[in-house]
Subunit: 257 residues, 2 copies
């Protein structure tokens, strides 16, 4: 069985050393990369479930996730809804810069480390280097594409497939920022977290996880998913990574000319 080996995957993903701008960094030249990294005023550690920025709050800094995972959440009544998930390299609250306030909260899942970027610094750098504005725009467009896929997932898939889809997306996004593909995927979600991402009850999330186990597709235990066959899991979840634009050079080269 592939269940025995838990220990070797407990290391959180991080982009330290080459850590900023995530997906986009391969499209930045040395100078641009230095500029973006220079924006970070300081780093901040977050413990589990810590709120980095709260919905409706006016903000004057943005943050880049460096290590760990974060949720975008909306509270309504006494319920919490998770509307997005972020991996290292993602700008987690960039919309606060342009829109002035947040339409949702940003919360850590497990411990996380972020780079704090004052809006003023972004502002200055955008004046100096207009190409940076495009980079930020691309990042926002990618977020939107991921949101659309979540919408389709919620419209199309039943509970077990939604859960499978979330893990497939996470795995792929982590690969895109350097995580090697392994049979185990560490992601410190509780079943309540999964339920809130899928729009189902926690009890049903539990049943859905049981279903994935039953089908031999994946085992999810204590914050880690184990699978011996990612391809089968992706097929089951009808996961197609096209929406992540992994192959796309974002026209940066042409644009810069």
């Amino acid at each position: 069985m592939f269940l025995e080996s838990t220990a070797q995957v407990e290391r959180p993903y991080d982009l330290t050393g080459d850590f900023l701008a995530g997906r986009l960094r391969k499209h930045l030249d040395q100078d641009e990369l230095a500029c973006v990294e220079g924006l970070v005023a300081h780093e901040r550690m977050l413990s589990d479930q810590e709120v980095l920025a709260r919905r409706a709050e006016r903000v004057d800094t943005a943050s880049i996730l460096i290590e760990g995972l974060m949720f975008r959440t909306i509270e309504s009544g006494n319920q919490r809804f998770i509307v997005g998930l972020h991996v290292p390299g993602d700008f987690v609250d960039l919309h606060g810069f342009a829109l002035g306030r947040l339409d949702h909260s940003i919360v850590s899942v497990g411990t996380a480390r972020v780079g704090v970027v004052p809006h003023l610094g972004i502002e200055r750098l955008m004046q100096k280097r207009p190409s940076l504005a495009r980079i930020l725009w691309f990042a926002s467009l990618l977020d939107a594409a991921i949101h659309r896929q979540w919408i389709q997932m919620l419209e199309q898939l039943d509970a077990p497939r939604r859960i499978a889809h979330i893990y497939c997306e996470l795995q792929t996004r982590l690969e895109l920022v350097g995580k090697p593909s392994t049979r185990a995927l560490r992601a410190p979600f509780t079943q309540y977290d999964l339920a809130d991402m899928c729009g189902i009850s926690a009890v049903h999330a539990n049943r859905a996880i049981g279903r994935l186990r039953e089908l031999g597709l994946a085992q999810i235990r204590r914050g880690t998913l184990y699978t011996s066959d990612w391809a089968a899991l992706r097929q089951y979840a009808r996961f197609d990574s096209a929406y992540l634009y992994a192959d796309t050079p974002f026209k940066l080269a042409e644009m810069r000319s």
Copy 2:
């Protein structure tokens, strides 16, 4: 009863005369507005259900919706999923400019009119006026915020509330581009369209519509919603327009300085 008067609302919304840049136009000065309007190479009429741009297609023009409504759709298997809705003034396929190809299709709902904008023109104008890049970025961020609200709607609401929410959002977005608030809202959706937006079956959409009628909240017939009490409908759908950032000046003034 408020049901008798169908005829007076059949006029489609349009922004002709002051037609471009939609939500953002109030934040543009005369010169900028002229620049954006100057981007439109020509107009194009679309009949019902016409595909303006197809998923996975490489594109070299973008389009601004001038009159009518459009869907963002994803086909999967032989099913169609609607992941977004657009009103006049919206850039419907702007992401194609930056990302090179589309992750979904753009389809008219009823007849529509769009302004076609060559990517090359956007490119040139962005070089000349960096402030335009921000305007396009803001538009993308608004789209993302709307996507997130759809995600929450799908996670939180049952079928009748989802349908109510969609109409509330549509009404509010149309108000933001100049439509007066009336008891009747013309929107040429079939019950299949509503089903595909809500992630439910057409039969169930029909029952959900029946439920809204039963509750005295709204009547939906032949492409028009009638309600005598928008506030009640909004409350039922738990609709809160904050995510549309109607009050937000987008920091354009400060940024331009």
